[in-house]
């Protein structure tokens, strides 16, 4: 196995073992394991099968892109991984926790502790300062005010925004806003950083800047999962999962993916 030192990749064989041992809590090393994940929607009498049995295993410290055309179910999968939604069938283990059988409050807890979201539209509170935006997850974690401020500041410094703590989102550029969002996602030391089209609203130079932030985080050992439909953005990850019609079509190393797409 030849792979970069800073971003290890699980092998297909390893993943198959994990995915097929149904009902068994995976080893702690596996951050995300889905087994036969299903999700259906009732759209005015017509049942849409968004996910038809998705098997994915992601090990700690991996940097994975999830790709797929619109309608492939990648948004549904993202909501599922992000614990915003629960599956109709199959299993989902996050950091060894059986998410698929959790209630609303438990899911909120998991979102708070284990997941750091980065959205396409940033989703910052417009009237709150950068610092307060970054503080929010800590507020819901019940961290006392002083410690909250300190950690939020540290997190903002980590994305080079130490001098923008008192700015409101409308006083920041798109790239800066997305970095505030990243600082917010990281402030609670989540198991995974979950990014949904993180560069969708950014120009190409800012996109490169944000991708560099992701790169640095991944190199520092942060597990990163990024949902995107842009192949050149996906190519920044170490591993690319392609969804089609609600199932995993391919799951391969970046090098294979890049070669296929001529990147």
């Amino acid at each position: 196995m030849t792979q970069t030192e800073e971003a290890p990749i699980s092998t297909t064989a390893e993943r198959q073992v994990i995915v097929s041992s149904s009902g068994v809590a995976p080893d702690k090393d596996w951050v995300i394991v889905t087994r036969g994940l299903k999700r259906e929607y009732d759209m005015g009498g017509e049942v849409i099968r968004a996910l038809r049995g998705v098997d994915i295993a992601i090990r700690r410290n991996e940097y994975v892109a999830i790709m797929g055309p619109s309608g492939s179910g990648k948004s549904t999968l993202m909501n599922m991984i992000g614990c915003l939604d629960t599956p109709d069938g199959g299993e989902y283990w996050l950091n060894g926790l059986p998410v698929s059988s959790m209630n609303d409050d438990e899911l909120a807890r998991v979102r708070n502790k284990e997941i750091g979201f980065v959205f396409q539209t940033f989703n910052l509170l417009p009237r709150a300062t950068a610092l307060h935006n970054v503080e929010l997850p800590l507020v819901y974690a019940g961290v006392p005010s002083d410690e909250r401020k300190r950690r939020a500041r540290e997190s903002l410094e980590r994305v080079q925004l130490g001098d923008r703590v008192d700015h409101r989102p409308n006083e920041l550029s798109g790239g800066q806003r997305q970095r505030v969002a990243i600082a917010r996602a990281l402030v609670n030391n989540p198991s995974i950083l979950l990014a949904d089209e993180p560069t969708g609203n950014l120009d190409s130079s800012t996109s490169t800047e944000i991708m560099r932030v992701f790169e640095d985080l991944a190199s520092a050992g942060q597990t990163v999962i990024m949902v995107t439909h842009e192949p050149d953005i996906a190519a920044h990850a170490r591993r690319v999962v392609i969804l089609r019609d609600g199932v995993v079509e391919s799951d391969e190393r970046k090098e294979h993916f890049a070669a296929k797409h001529g990147l």
Partner: protein, 414 residues
């Protein structure tokens, strides 16, 4: 999220939308304002009644024999008609009653308390005065001290001399810059000689007590005030509260035998003490209090509905924010608490402003009108609590709607 955190967040939200918040809490503010003002008026009147009214209007350690009580809660037609049919008191009732009184008692006969009659003098235009005909120890019972002249002498009362004792306002109006003693005051076309001026007595419910013109009952004043010669009441003052009770029983027996009442028959006259009058007045004030607080309470309900409405709008407007908060780990109860606290904070703030305005209003009423007002501490506590409760009740539905929002749907909304 801890409670104080939620309150801070709510205050921030209110600060950001000052104008909207102001209109939101206006309903509660107005409701509370009127609540405080009405309660302070009623409380003030109650306090005033206890402290001033009993002494000024009825006298200390007194009771009054009347054909019917001035302050009574018998408001049904039948009892009013029965009371109206009662035999009035007349002058011939006085000697037997007075003779039976225990030693040390004082007594006085009076026509109505405040009967307006026109008076005139050569020095001023016609004006109404509070005309009264009295006999006995009236001035002593009422503790009227004279600032000039003298009261009538027993023989003047007995003879019905046309002499008159007047209040300071009467003196000032009819005899500007003159010594009124010995001058002529005409009341109802009868000429009286002014023999005394009563010291300033102040107000009772805004009615000046210094506009009195008091003459002997047997003088023409008796007929001017009470054309049929009826007596409004015989006031009896005992040396002590026990003596008053004793005197009351004596008077009751005298009157019952004079009216030939059988033991089973009820009294067809009334013995009214300041305590019994106060009890009746308090009953009326309590009704006013209930009615007076019911109206602002409706205002509070409307205020609560405004808040509920605005909170529903706020939930709709801030759906995206709710989505963000949920994605960051806010539980249902966190969102529920956030909106409940915001609603309660708004409403409490409205109540606090309303309390301030209500207190100011009460001061203005006390200053500009004769109505005495006292801001009751309990009404401040009650209004604050009420404000909070209104906010919580109004916030329950919007907050529970917010808390049940699906995070994915909420995030999708812009």
């Amino acid at each position: 999220m801890p409670l104080f955190e939620a309150v801070r967040l709510a205050l921030m939200q209110i600060r950001v939308q000052k104008l909207k918040s102001f209109f939101t809490l206006l309903g509660v503010t107005i409701g509370v304002m009127f609540l405080i003002a009405v309660v302070s008026i009623v409380e003030g009147m109650g306090k005033y009644m206890k402290e001033d009214f009993a002494g000024k209007m009825l006298g200390v350690n007194t009771f009054t024999l009347r054909s019917r009580a001035q302050f009574s809660d018998d408001h049904d037609d039948q009892s009013i008609r029965a009371a109206a049919r009662r035999k009035p008191l007349v002058l011939s009732d006085v000697p037997p009653v007075v003779e039976a009184l225990p030693a040390g008692s004082r007594w006085a006969v009076q026509t109505g308390d405040f009967t307006s009659r026109y008076a005139s003098s050569p020095f001023a235009r016609e004006r109404q005065v509070m005309a009264m005909g009295v006999e006995g120890d009236y001035f002593a019972i009422k503790r009227y001290e004279l600032s000039a002249g003298r009261a009538f002498l027993p023989f003047e009362a007995q003879l019905g001399s046309s002499v008159i004792v007047i209040g300071t306002e009467v003196a000032k109006h009819f005899f500007p810059n003159l010594d009124p003693i010995g001058r002529e005051l005409r009341v109802g076309d009868v000429s009286f000689e002014v023999i005394g001026v009563i010291e300033p007595q102040g107000n009772l419910f805004g009615m000046s007590l210094d506009r009195m013109a008091i003459a002997p009952f047997r003088s023409p004043m008796g007929r001017i005030v009470s054309p049929r010669g009826y007596i409004n009441g015989i006031v009896v003052q005992g040396a002590s509260p026990v003596a008053v009770d004793e005197a009351m029983e004596v008077v009751r027996e005298v009157m019952r035998s004079r009216r030939r009442l059988r033991p089973a028959q009820p009294d067809n006259f009334a013995l009214e003490t300041s305590a019994s009058a106060l009890a009746e007045i308090t009953k009326v004030l309590n009704i006013v209090k209930v009615a007076g607080t019911a109206l602002p309470a409706i205002g509070l309900i409307v205020g609560g509905m405004v808040i509920m409405n605005i909170m529903l709008v706020a939930v709709a407007e801030r759906t995206h924010e709710i989505g963000i908060r949920k994605s960051l780990g806010a539980r249902r109860k966190d969102i529920l608490r956030q909106f409940l606290v915001e609603s309660a904070t708004l409403s409490t703030l409205g109540a606090i402003i309303g309390i301030a305005l209500g207190i100011i209003g009460a001061q203005i009423i006390a200053w500009k009108t004769p109505l005495p007002t006292t801001v009751a501490p309990w009404s401040i506590v009650a209004a604050t609590l009420l404000g909070t409760v209104v906010g919580i009740v109004a916030g329950v539905y919007p907050a529970s709607r917010a808390s049940r929002l699906d995070p994915i749907e909420a995030l999708r909304q812009e």
